[in-house]
Amino acid sequence: MTPLLIENGDLLAGLGVWSDELLVSLLVLPVLAMLLGFVLGGRAAERITLLTLPLGLALAIAVAVLMLHQGTPLSYDIGGWEPPLGVALRVDGLSALLLLTTALVITGVGLYACADFATSADVKEARAPLAFWTLLLGLWAALNAVFIGQDLFNLYVAIELLTFTAVPLVCLKGSAETLQAALRYLLFALLGSVLYLLGAALLYGAYGTLDIGQLAAAMGSSAEPAAIAAVVLMTAGLLAKTALVPLHLWLPPAHAGAPAAASAVLSALVVKGSFYLVFRLWIDLMPLAYTQQIAQGLATLGAVAILLGGIMAIRQARLKMLIAYSTLAQLGYLFLIFPLLVSPVMVPALADGSTPAAWTGGILQLVSHAFAKASMFMGAGLIMIALGHDRIADLGGLGRLLPITLVAFALSGLSLMGLPPSGGFAAKWLLLRAAIETGQWWWMLVILLGGVLTGVYLYRVLVSASFGGAGAVVEAGPTSDRQSASVPELAPEALPELASAPSPEPASAPSPRSSSERPGQTGQAQSVQGQPRLQRPVARSRELIVLTLALIAIALGMVPLTSFEILQIGRGGEAMAMLEPLAEPVGLSAVELPPSGLTPVPSVAGSLVAEMEPLPGVAGSLPSAAEPLP
């Protein structure tokens, strides 16, 4: 890909002509696919979504490559009407990375979900598949709109779209618990969006524009009281959608109750959408002085989330609940960015033009958590299929039944804990470094303690899954009783409507043995008396998808940190201007990055389908992460 970049400069210049079309396509493509899928219905919705996945991924890559090539953000005024009258779109380094993350995760989820949401042969159309595939596309459009929006009201419509696509995904099963979880989620989200809208109204009342860039320019270094009230209201609203403590109550039941593929999207991406807006409000919109005042408060809530989420995760008996609480904790880390980024200590120290560690670390945390958590939730889905339950205590023998999934789980766990070599390690290491550099040792303690808690709850799962087999023999009687008793209960769940695509099972699989002995499936023919048996087979391709996402989370830790300078492209707000005194080298460095710096993005994309190859030209993880940036 890199030689292509250099040799085909003409091609990229040609691409540059289409920059406006590319930006608009980010919104148009998924929406049109959704409309078409909805009107054609039935199996068409699934096929159209699967066709859209590579197109959307290519689009995200094209936008990222074009922006890298230009070294400046892409922007577009819709309809040719400039703000404040019109609405603008804008892609900078950060949003390009988030667009790419979104595309990759959704592609993984889409491929994974084929087996869960296939319309069975004997029905013309079924509720859950149609809803899932169309909503997935709608969700993608909403996330793209959130990441490239520049107008606060346009962003309001985008986050509402996000809410309306995310909430029904929670209750696709239609059980009472999930309906209740979805309703609770919706009520929190609606409170959030109405507060956000109120803030947008006040900002318009104070400055007569809704464009983020224009608002920041109009504010200069001091904001109107109305603007402060507005941003506080909007932040409160967005925190309800991001599930930051104390507005977190909706998240665990919603994320744990959703089907695995939906949980993956919800935890990996949806909560990040509202976090991204909080980030934009305080970093891009508000003057630095105000951000400095609120930063400690936001980070304190984040710290509480890290500790509370970790402790609650340890106490969970069910794997999906554990993963959901882990999301709560990992989101907390994102809020530590604020004090580390805008600390007064940092500002003079950064006169040499380096990328702030907190900035890279925070974004790396966001992205690596997205991949790790998507992998974990989808892995949990496979475990649920294979074992028929997700009780952590009874996971014994998993290593034999689903070895790949277990490895993927361990790798994602590595990233969440922040152990090398992983994206999570680089993220947490950079945050730690920033905490030391800015003299805020208390955040260091929180990060370390959070890592320990993460280690404890993941250790529980891994130990139970790896060494639980012996215990299972002791408990052989009750365990096998319970499981064989639950077979008649499981059988109807293998309804043709939702049976896995590779091997549609008859509606009443008589014995789990027979299905587990099918060739080409994992863990077959090894069932020992007294060991947990495979309730339903799991396609190896699905395990590989889970593994690929986990490997991406790991690989992020091996990407040389210099390549994250692309994140600096187009950072506008005052905070960034102060943190990044030399705007020019950023543009240059993006173009002149060493080949190794550019490779990971495309190769990570390619690896999603094929098996993961060692990233070419990747520098050693630890030293490169530890070294200060050039």
Binding site: V39, G80, A206, G208
Partner: protein, 324 residues
Amino acid sequence: MNAVAILGLLTDLVLAVSVLMLSIWIVLTPDRLRAVVGFLANGILIALVWMRLGAPDVALTEAIIGGGLVTLLLLGASARVPPESARNAFADRDRWPLHLLAALLAAVVAVGLALVVLNLPEPAPSLASAVATELPATAVDNPVTAVLMAFRAVDTLFETVVLVVALIAFWSLIPEGAWFQRAGWLPLREPAPALVLLGRVLPPFGILTAVHLFWIGTTLPGGKFQAGALLAAIWALVLIAGLSQPMAAAQRLPRLLVVMGPTVFFAVGLAGFWLAGDFLAYPSGLEKPLILIIEAVLMLSVAAALGLILAGLPPAPGSLEQRR
């Protein structure tokens, strides 16, 4: 201050106090059904407030959607949710700290907000003059329509997408096994004869009014949303009176209607790239006909989406309602 101004202010005062009192009553009244009916009355009063604020377009929308359609939804829900029981009284006694905290929070927010709103910077920033300057370029006379269809057309476009998504989301709640059933919230089992008569007489007038609202939308207050919402309300009335069968989610025609609006909007928007140089820009000379076409299709789509949502969900197989 002359007599007319004083009279106007007095009207505003009475209006504001009524809305305030009614809203407090809605939140506090022990009877749920009364709260819903009070909400309808409140919607109409708020529409009057919008008239007084010089926004007839919004007043129309508020009256039809904020007042009428939302109330219809809430009424449908209150008939299907278990009745409020004696539990409140006991439970609420334990919850007084929460109520106190909530009241404090609400008071702080309300007072703070009032201070901010009353002290917004003077002179008020406004895009009115910018809209007036650019209005000729859109070939539309109603400034609100110009904002909705030209300057901020992308918001309108995405709003119609939101309606489609809302319908998909709503239908994703259809009980298992009832996907091919007809929606079941609206039809009354024994509609009153007066209602049936109303259902027969009103639709022609309603449709005429809707077409009128739509047609004047480019010059005077009115437009696709108001007209579409009115059509949906008429459809709901016809369904309530049992004069027509509700649709089922599995049918293709309603979906086609719902999707048509945004699709045409997208098509025109994309064509704008080649014909006018920008997404969602109209080629000069064709602005008015294109906007009219989009609005006409959108009106039908909005009506279909709102109407299908109002018609509700089919009952769960085996539930009491279905056996009836």
